[in-house]
């Protein structure tokens, strides 16, 4: 049997404690699989005294995670501190600079500094592995980097944030408002007290940027992601989607286009029959379109201590077996820049919900403005038809589904319709993702 792999773990929150437990529980199996003993020799956390229900007796305690990262007592540094800067960044840089391999679950760190860290790892012949940073227990990083190595990838998209998917699922299944569902998610611990990072789409954007880099061989570029959250999705939209055979999901989508790599996060209409549409609650899913494999979908837990630890431990096992992949699939000098593709160029179908006064000519005025931009309509649906006792001019909901067009044309047409006075308030626009 080869040398022992000596592991240091910094950060003993839910994931860190699960990693320690898993390494202990699977000690024999991991040794058999990797040919080496994997031994926890050091830990670091903010509170040394806290009882985490795990046995840390064999591990030295370090107050400073960077000191653990620099320690000659370890071969591999596991960073589970979190955050793009501070202790996480410093300790990962320290470990790599000392030529020690790093496993991290830290998407924010990778989004901000992934390309530089990959270059440092390469220079020092160390591994930098981050399966746990995207979609929790789903082995999507390995799949993109290794499992689809023979493919040219066209698109990668998915449900990458459990909080948002939980809220959207609850809205549909329980017919609750966005804010009611958010409150419930906070009560259950599925959403933070300040939920902006999740519901605003920023968490999804970090994960998407990692996937895009792996899929397209580009330098990670979170600043090139166009981001829209789920705050403005209403029950009316969810109902209309259901009636039309769609479901609304917050998707991260990265796609090869003639203009470059398009990266976007937004509420999206997906056909109910697709694998992605079936994913409810806190589950995550990622679909890859590629030239050889066509379509591949992975569905699994996007968060949780054990599921995330599963990904961390798989990375540790790969490193124990001596696997050294380029972190983003290609040598970092070969990663191409990822330019921001203007979202105005986005091509696809659109769902548009308008509040239209129920007066003669309103439909015609809308259709004319659409036709002027060569937008053709797949369907028009009127919601909330005139009821007894209702004022004749009270607005009714009108849903348009367009054939493929560009974002620019849609925005121009809606601006014109608003300027005409045909509608009193801006339209709700949700992109439709093709299958």
């Amino acid at each position: 049997m080869a040398d022992i792999l000596r592991v240091g773990v910094a950060g003993l929150g839910t994931v860190g404690a699960s990693v320690v437990r898993l390494l202990q529980r699977q000690r024999e199996a991991l040794a058999a699989r990797t040919g080496r003993e994997i031994r926890l020799v050091g830990v670091s956390s903010r509170d040394k005294a806290k009882d985490r229900g795990v046995d840390l007796s064999g591990a030295a305690f370090f107050d400073d995670p960077a000191a653990l990262a620099a320690s000659q007592s370890i071969d591999l540094f596991v960073e589970l501190i979190g955050g793009a800067e501070g202790a996480a960044r410093k300790s990962v840089e320290t470990a790599l600079a000392h030529g020690r391999s790093v496993v991290t679950a830290n998407k924010a760190l990778l989004a901000a500094h992934g390309a530089e860290l990959a270059a440092l790892a390469e220079e020092k012949h160390a591994a930098l592995a981050f399966e746990a940073s995207v979609a929790g227990g789903i082995p999507i990083v390995k799949t993109l980097r290794e499992g689809l190595a023979g493919n040219s990838i066209e698109r990668v998209y998915g449900v990458l944030n459990g909080t948002c998917n939980y809220i959207l699922s609850r809205m549909e299944l329980e017919r609750l408002s966005f804010s009611d569902c958010l409150t419930e998610a906070q009560r259950l611990g599925y959403a933070e007290a300040d939920p902006t990072f999740d519901i605003g789409g920023f968490d999804t954007a970090h994960k998407l940027a990692i996937l895009a880099s792996l899929a397209f061989g580009t330098r990670i570029a979170p600043e090139a992601v166009d981001i829209e959250g789920i705050e403005h999705v209403t029950l009316a939209d969810i109902d209309a989607a259901a009636e039309l055979g769609f479901r609304i999901k917050l998707l991260g989508v990265a796609q090869r286009t003639a203009q470059g790599i398009e990266q976007r996060v937004h509420p999206t209409m997906v056909r109910k029959t697709t694998s992605i549409a079936q994913v409810m609650g806190v589950t995550n899913a990622v679909t890859i379109d590629a030239d050889a494999v066509h379509e591949l979908t992975l569905v699994g837990p996007g968060a949780g201590g054990d599921a995330t630890a599963s990904a961390v431990v798989a990375d540790i096992a790969d490193i124990a077996r001596g696997v050294r992949s380029a972190p983003f699939g290609l040598p970092s000098a070969s990663l191409r820049p990822c330019e921001r593709t203007p979202v105005q160029r986005h091509e696809g179908g659109y769902y548009i919900r308008l509040s239209v006064p129920d007066v003669p000519g309103a439909f015609a005025a809308i259709a004319t403005r659409m036709a002027e931009r060569k937008i053709s309509l797949e369907s028009i649906m009127q919601h909330g038809a005139r009821a007894a006792g209702r004022s004749a001019e009270a607005p009714v909901g009108v849903i348009l589904i367009t054939h493929a067009t560009t974002e620019l044309m849609v925005r121009e047409a809606l601006d014109a319709i608003l300027a005409d006075g045909t509608i009193a308030e801006p339209a709700q626009v949700i992109r439709i993702e093709r299958e």
Copy 2:
């Protein structure tokens, strides 16, 4: 850049031609990803002259695949001949005996000789990779062997045969009989002229045996798989399943039980809401239940030249990068024997369809026999209720759904009911797979 990896491909059918095309199309990307040029230097096939629409100008032609396998001109032998014996077996053994790594898509060969071939590869320090042998383009071998290395796997199950899934999907969607769907599948090339291997469940059993070995660290044991095909599934079963919220799939299931590893292939009731149930047509899907990741599902193309070639090329790329995993995840000496678990011990819920004369006391007689074996019923549904003009004693369809019990109890109860004369013909029994 490291040495060129020189590849020989034996078998130039649909998959072989796709592999050659993919290696050529992705030449630069593969070199960037693996750090080596991957070069096709030799091929072998039955018909040298046949035009396959691929450029073979740089590759030497070998009439005998074993001669290609033995040739010093190659580093890696790709076996796409098929069959458990003959040229496939001989050439793979030859390549490994010469210390050359092997990539194969041949499930029959692995099912019959996988353990011996793995031991030979290990002895010679060569790789033996077979991602393409199970579920086509889905990276399930890599996921089980590497991506879930930190997990103890409880169950792996899936839709592993596109022909069967196509037929069952068509029966449901088009309301056609089994034989009509089979004829159509044959016309479309989804089923062989002799379809026994697919519809009888044998193809699924080969694939399941490979997955079970990877999941449980056992020696591959196709002879320990309990096999039942889809020939006896009727439209009446499919309708009843739909009414009860189920769908019928031919599943391969390998499961850790107190008695050992249970491996079985049979038509199965799965709840419509599960990921597996959503998989229609020729698509494949595999779900893994494991202690850390809980549930993970992979969905993708189970066959087809390009999708299978995607898996073959991923294996080639891993070998180019120097990855040497134990073929079945563990050193072959550590693989434990896989005893056949008697299916009488299988525990679960059951769907039972009986044809019962519509006479007083029939229900009571059935319920009594069930109760004697402590089988409790979740639901009882009567189908084809008495219609005007119908004879009072004409049989009606009765569907029972049981709570968890054992196969033995169910078989005993049904034998007793048949012996009592309560039913005139044997019952249809379909196992329910828990979520």
